[in-house]
């Protein structure tokens, strides 16, 4: 995973709430067994609409998606994160996220930034007024900056450190293999086990 410290880029204003992961990438794109190339599925139903924000040339090349509340609800599909990343997004800002989406994004290094509704409204207006507005998403300071304004956001120290170092969770967990083995040796015998071939 790439290290994330500070990302600065232009924004894409997605003025919709309740953007579920079926909208981010419909199920038909989930049949692939590979890890790359999901950008064609991103918001694929909405992209048929010429008025949809991703079809607006003014916002082309935007790397910070600014969305309405309850972004990424619904299905657990991590493909939603991959589609956003494959399309070029580095961060998503919204007033609230679906828990599973947020967890998936943090695993993959797409930064989900929770800001209050009024901050999101301000960012929407800034981007729409001037699409070249630079938005800095600063994980080190835990703040977003644009047009001389700044908003702080919360992220726990551990996750922040892991993202800044670009560390792989599995590798971190396997450092505690002895703890896992010790736990396993104490599990009750009535816990179910599945017959293996």
């Amino acid at each position: 995973m790439q290290k994330f410290t500070v990302h600065t880029g232009t924004g894409v204003p997605l003025r919709r709430s309740n953007v579920d992961t079926d909208q981010i990438i419909p199920a038909v794109y989930l049949k692939r067994v590979t890890r790359n190339g999901f950008e064609d599925g991103l918001f694929s139903a909405w992209r048929n609409d010429p008025e949809f924000v991703l079809n607006n040339e003014s916002f082309a090349g935007g790397t910070v998606l600014v969305a309405g509340t309850d972004f990424g609800t619904g299905s657990s599909r991590e493909h939603a994160v991959w589609a956003l990343q494959d399309y070029g997004f580095k961060a998503v800002i919204a007033p609230r996220f679906g828990d599973i989406f947020r967890g998936n994004a943090l695993k993959g290094g797409l930064l989900p930034v929770q800001l209050p509704q009024d901050a999101v409204e301000t960012l929407w207006k800034l981007i729409e007024h001037d699409p070249s507005t630079q938005i800095a998403v600063d994980l080190v300071q835990r703040e977003v900056r644009a047009d001389g304004q700044s908003w702080s956001f919360e992220l726990d120290d551990f996750t922040r450190w892991r993202l800044m170092e670009g560390l792989d969770d599995i590798g971190l967990t396997l450092r505690h293999e002895a703890d896992i083995a010790a736990y396993e040796s104490g599990r009750p015998s009535f816990k179910p086990s599945i017959a293996t071939a």
Partner: protein, 464 residues
């Protein structure tokens, strides 16, 4: 101070806890299906890792499988995904119930059916409806593919402890009102983000009255209001359901297990971070009119006027939804005609659901121009239904009796709506395009689904 049910189970699974870090939780059961696992197995291979506990891992095929036959997977991309799971399961030693196998079915139906889902467990799956298993008094939640790989490799997950919430269900459901109506009414009350960051415990007499199937329907839809997981404390209903199932404990282990399970209740002096109350006795048959599960109303109501929503985001969302759904404010919900009725899914594809629908449709006919699909949640559910003759009730009424799978819940297999088609569906999501691009979904209970099939428009059994 006392602990909640969720806290007791959480504490019993902490492998390692360190200040400033998420807890490392042990996972008792990892359910796997074909859609969210291929990249995880690739990750293991690339890192030279193996599956730590194949004996705590259970795979099935459900999302891509056809429901009109057990042999031919017409779409080559779907076929590749299923074949990839078969190869991965063989290579890593993971038990798999393939299409055509006696235990094949929707992942959230087969876990409980096998008795592999038990109280006091931690259960994960790369699928948001994993919350279903919380009906047994376990912590069960959906994860992404990176986490699937993590569990395969380590049988653990680093997790920050969610907050706890109680849903206090007061009163009792009236006759003809089901678990599905209750959960749809709750989601409309609290909104799709109302449970975010919480493990929810459903409590109260109306919950205790429910069968395991009804509890599973409730817990299944926890994710639809944003909860991390939903659960019901285990009781005699739970124990009776589990006893004698293939993966349930037996003999002395059964006694030890039940003794432990009886301790899995929220202590009287425990406190929840949040509490919500809903009056079960006020719930009527409930349906959705919009494009998220929180956009619902009693069947007796009319399509709401977006202007009636005080919150601007809710108002805009309602306007969008009515346009997508091609509905006009003020239309009685009962006047909405449907093209397709789908009975099935991990929400309502169990034997009790099929029985409820069969009771309504018995001796009646599916309305002209309406297609009704009946899709059992598993091969075992299908066999049990056939042993009772339910398949004959459905086919005599003109419905299609199909093989087990996720089917029309999610538009990943051949069972999809055409653009503009409208369905009454017992599944869990009415998102835009969920059942096929341009399809319009009304979420309903099995009894309302059956009555709607007969009437040709949204209806309750009492309307027939």
């Amino acid at each position: 101070m006392g602990r909640t049910l969720a806290e007791k189970i959480w504490d019993a699974h902490v492998v390692r806890s360190a200040e400033g870090e998420p807890d490392l939780l042990y996972i008792d059961l990892h359910l796997v299906h074909e859609v969210t696992s291929p990249q995880a197995f690739d990750g293991l291979r690339n890192a030279g890792r193996k599956v730590r506990r194949p004996d705590l891992t259970l795979a099935t095929e459900d999302h891509n499988t056809p429901t009109d036959n057990l042999v031919t997977i017409a779409d080559p991309v779907s076929r590749t995904q299923l074949e990839t799971l078969r190869r991965n399961a063989a290579e890593f030693g993971v038990p798999l119930h393939s299409l055509g196998a006696a235990e094949q079915g929707i992942v959230h139906v087969i876990g409980p059916q096998l008795g592999a889902t038990q109280p006091g467990m931690t259960i994960v799956c790369g699928d948001s409806h994993t919350s279903t298993h919380g009906a047994f008094g376990s912590i069960a939640f959906g994860i992404g593919t990176s986490e699937v790989e993590h569990v395969l490799a380590t049988q653990t997950l680093p997790q920050s402890k969610p907050k706890t919430m109680a849903v206090n269900v007061t009163g009792r459901l009236r006759p003809g009102v089901t678990a599905k109506d209750l959960i749809l009414a709750l989601i409309t009350q609290v909104g799709t983000g109302g449970g975010q960051g919480h493990i929810v415990e459903y409590r109260g007499e109306a919950i205790r009255d429910l069968s395991m199937e009804g509890r599973m329907t409730i817990c299944n839809m926890s994710i639809e209001w944003g909860a991390r997981a939903g659960m019901v404390a285990p009781d005699e209903t739970t124990f009776a359901y589990l006893k004698g199932r293939p993966n349930a404990p037996a003999g002395a282990d059964w006694d030890a297990a039940v003794e432990y399970w009886r301790s899995l209740v929220t202590d009287d002096d425990a406190t929840f971070d949040t509490e919500v109350t809903i009056d079960a006795s006020a719930v009527e048959p409930f349906v959705t009119w919009g494009t998220n599960p929180g956009q619902g109303a009693p069947l007796s109501a009319t399509v709401p006027d977006p202007a009636s929503f005080a919150d601007e985001a809710a108002r805009t969302a309602a306007e969008r939804a009515l346009t997508y759904m091609d509905l006009t404010a003020g239309t009685p919900l009962r006047d909405i005609g449907v093209d397709v009725v789908f009975l099935g899914s991990c929400t309502n594809g169990r034997l009790e659901d099929l029985r409820a629908a069969a009771e309504v449709i018995s001796g009646r006919q599916v309305a002209d121009g309406v297609r009704m699909l009946v899709v059992p949640g598993s091969a075992k559910v299908r066999a049990a239904a056939e042993a009772e003759g339910l398949h004959e009730v459905f086919t005599a009424a003109g419905a299609e009796w199909r093989f087990a799978g996720c089917s029309m819940c999610l538009g990943m297999n051949p069972d999809v709506l055409s653009p503009g088609q409208r369905s009454a569906s017992t599944s869990n999501r009415n998102f835009e395009g969920r059942q096929g691009r341009g399809g319009r979904t009304h979420l309903v209970s099995p009894a309302v689904a059956a009555a709607t099939a007969v009437a040709g428009h949204l209806a309750a059994p009492a309307d027939l």
